[in-house]
């Protein structure tokens, strides 16, 4: 086990190196002058200022030097560090008029909040449907699940989301786009709502404000349904085939031959073993949710990391979107690591190989 974790940890620097190289390569498409915008906060007054920035950040030096400066930044004579993505300085956002790191700090809790609430319906319903489809193979539950999964993979997220907006928001006004209603914003800024975690739904519960919690849910329910729906499609497929495979195993036959009830055979013998591939997939999906769900957040105007990145990219604000990409890359690498280690705890075959 320790060996496995150490081996997995050793991959991290390599992955980080690869990811930063790719993103640095994207930046390499820009000219030094455009790249100096990464570090300038105000509109530069003259060429000297730009040239100073270019020199300070080594933008005219060979690529390896540039890459290194980009990673760690420079320290000026006063001992103040400028730039350096490894130290969290992702640059200054022209479109949002604030440092990229501040945008991330403001937006990431929202993405986390959404991911937290999407996990449960996504996993529970997906697994349940996959098991039913396998147990009733080629009967109507199976056909229904199959149809559901095909429609689910074909339905573009944004079309699904816009259709939901037509019915549940514009027509019925049950659920709302965005993050919170105006009165909740007022409460937030008046300091009436203590922010322990910065996740709105959790904070509302901790403060005992069910009305705020309900408002948060009304705003999150459409993204939750959309995200669950697109993930169900794949979960059903994987769970079904894994369950079919398991139901043919000898120990399932043995359990049936012993005269155990079918429900016990399925729920206690077959399903836990059939869940292993789903655990991997669940890990990947949750990691994906953390990495910002660009399209869903954009459709519902949900102010998470993904929407911030999309807004920046559509205004061609390279600095901000690259900052988001690096942050997302870091998050994905770390959460992949956590998922892999958890997986090794569950499945002995992984850690022993």
């Amino acid at each position: 086990m320790t060996n496995y974790i150490i081996r997995r940890l050793l991959q991290i620097p390599l992955l980080l190196f690869g990811v930063t190289i790719i993103i640095f390569g994207l930046l390499g498409l820009l000219s030094p002058i455009e790249r100096s915008a990464l570090y300038i906060r105000d509109v530069p007054r003259n060429d000297n200022q730009i040239n100073a920035v270019i020199r300070q950040y080594a933008l005219d030096k060979p690529l390896p030097v540039q890459y290194w400066r980009w990673l760690v930044g420079t320290v000026d004579i006063n001992g103040v560090r400028h730039g350096g993505i490894l130290f969290g300085d992702f640059g200054y956002s022209r479109t949002a008029s604030q440092p990229v790191l501040q945008i991330i700090q403001a937006r990431f809790p929202n993405t986390l909040d959404l991911a937290l609430w999407t996990m449960y319906p996504m996993l529970a319903v997906g697994i349940w449907m996959g098991v039913k489809a396998a147990v009733y193979q080629n009967k109507w539950p199976d056909q229904a699940a199959r149809m559901f999964s095909i429609v689910g993979t074909s339905f573009p997220t944004f079309v699904f989301g816009l259709l939901m907006l037509i019915f549940f928001y514009a027509q019925l006004h049950w659920f709302l786009p965005g993050k919170m209603s105006d009165w909740v914003t007022k409460i937030m800024y008046s300091g009436e709502l203590k922010q322990y975690t910065h996740l709105l739904s959790i904070d509302a519960l901790l403060n005992g404000r069910l009305d705020v919690f309900w408002d948060a849910m009304r705003h999150m329910i459409m993204p939750i349904i959309t995200l669950s729906y697109i993930n169900w499609a794949t979960f059903v497929r994987v769970m079904r085939s894994s369950m079919l495979e398991t139901l043919r195993q000898d120990y399932v036959v043995t359990a049936r031959a012993k005269g155990l009830k079918e429900g016990v055979v399925i729920n206690q013998h077959a399903r836990p073993n059939a869940m292993l591939p789903v655990v991997t997939m669940a890990g990947m999906s949750i990691v994906g949710l953390l990495g910002g769900v660009i399209i869903t957040e954009t459709v519902f105007n949900y102010p998470g990391i993904g929407k911030a990145a999309a807004d920046a990219a559509s205004q061609l604000d390279v600095v901000t979107s690259v900052g988001m990409a690096i942050f997302t890359g870091f998050i994905l690498i770390l959460s992949n690591l956590v998922v892999d280690i958890l997986y090794a705890f569950i499945d002995p075959r992984v850690r022993l190989s």
Binding site: L163, G306, A312, A313, M324
Partner: protein
């Protein structure tokens, strides 16, 4: 014991002692062998076989299709047993393994509906100038009926610079006046025109992106698999790293970086999608080649001193590429989906370009009145969904054909 071993070989088509090329399905069967094949069960039974062995051979001989009808049991011949299996010209051309894939594709209803949808969209794309006659110099730009910002519902008449009325319109509707069949988006872009010509955009982006990703994937994957060792290791680590990054986000950012360089067109989004989309194909072709490079004919080529590059491109890739090509063809659906997603986010095509994602993006400005302006979402959304679904339905059938565990189990 010896007899039993001989009896295991019951099908002359699989007999390793038989001259190989004469029995490949698709090859001409020589006249004298045909006679031998037409022999009865005695042909398979060796002198000295025990009763039980003969019984087993009999039970393993293929049965004729119709229950009861036709010859059965003792005097069943191989020719009769296989009488329903005519080798078509298509099978001869593709070879048995690839033919099985093609046949599996046309087996289920789901895949037939999928094919129907794809053909339908192809026809719409081909006949787009007849269905919706173009206006102005660039047929891909949606015509505008003035510049008012309020969208107009389906059926409202064209007021300003109405385009030529298509030939089919009058005979179906009996109406002389050209209307906005599917309404207009803000800025009075005609949605009907955009949906029809968007089909061309979809096919264009789908094909170009797919061909380029497959080319890159095939080259890198086959080089990795063929040379193995350190080359393989490095290339596959690069694939791993690319796969860590979220596809849509990276494509979006790459397109945003490229747009100032290349201008607003299809190009930035397409290049971005190619740059971050090739990894899957590299993996598929790599695993196919790993098995093919152990085959005898590759060894033979190596022994006779053929250059590495020639072995790779003349002997290995042509034999390994078919599954990748089929998978790639079906990947067009998801490419079009991703492209539409990028346009929806506001990256890629210039304003007013016939492109489903962009029409859907217009709906973002009317999020509070979507019940009134549902047509901006429903028509392009439905078209895009059906397009993607067509490819996915066929793709589902392909997965079943390729996945040996699912083989022969129907839908």
């Amino acid at each position: 014991m010896n007899d039993l071993n001989n009896a295991e070989i019951i099908n002359p088509l699989e007999d390793p002692n038989m001259p190989d090329q004469e029995f490949r399905p698709g090859a001409e069967v020589p006249a004298e062998t045909k006679e031998t094949l037409a022999g009865s069960i005695e042909h398979y039974v060796q002198p000295g076989d025990t009763e039980s062995v003969v019984d087993r051979i009999q039970s393993e001989l293929p049965k004729p299709k119709g229950e009861g009808g036709g010859p059965s049991g003792d005097n069943l011949t191989l020719a009769e047993a296989h009488s329903d299996r005519k080798i078509t010209r298509l099978e001869r051309w593709l070879g048995p393994e690839n033919y099985r894939i093609v046949k599996g594709l046309s087996k289920t209803w789901a895949s037939r509906i999928g094919f129907f949808l794809i053909v339908l969209f192809a026809l719409i794309a081909i006949f787009a100038p007849l269905i919706a006659p173009p206006v102005g110099s660039d047929p891909y730009m949606m015509p505008r009926d003035g510049f008012a910002s309020q969208p107009k519902p389906p059926g409202s008449p064209w007021k300003k610079n109405a385009p030529e009325i298509p030939f089919w319109y009058k005979s179906i509707t009996g109406n002389d006046e050209w209307v906005h069949l599917l309404g207009t988006a803000q800025g009075q872009y005609d949605i009907f025109y955009g949906v029809i010509w968007g089909t061309r955009t979809a096919f264009r982006t789908g094909f170009i992106v797919e061909i380029a990703t497959v080319l890159i994937g095939v080259i890198l994957g086959s080089v990795a698999a063929y040379y193995g060792g350190a080359t393989d290791n490095i290339l596959m680590r690069i694939v791993d790293i690319f796969m860590t990054l979220p596809y849509i986000m990276m494509a979006m950012i790459a397109a945003a970086v490229l747009t100032p360089r290349l201008g607003r067109s299809l190009l930035p989004a397409m290049i971005a999608m190619i740059a971050f989309g090739w990894m899957g194909y590299a993996r598929v072709i790599r695993s196919d080649i790993l098995s093919i490079k152990e085959r005898d004919y590759v060894m033979a080529a190596k022994v006779s001193g053929v250059k590495n590059s020639r072995i790779l491109f003349k002997h290995i890739i042509p034999n390994a590429i078919f599954p990748t090509v089929v998978l790639a063809t079906l990947g067009i659906g998801s490419v079009v989906l991703s492209f539409a997603a990028l346009s929806f986010l506001g990256i890629g095509t210039p304003l007013g370009y016939s492109d489903w994602g962009q029409i859907l993006a217009f709906a973002r400005s009317w999020i509070n009145n979507l019940d009134k302006y549902w047509f901006i979402v429903v028509f392009p959304g439905l078209t895009l969904t059906l397009f993607v679904m067509g490819w996915n339905l066929v793709g589902d059938a392909v997965r079943d054909v390729f996945d040996p565990r699912m083989r022969g189990r129907g839908a």
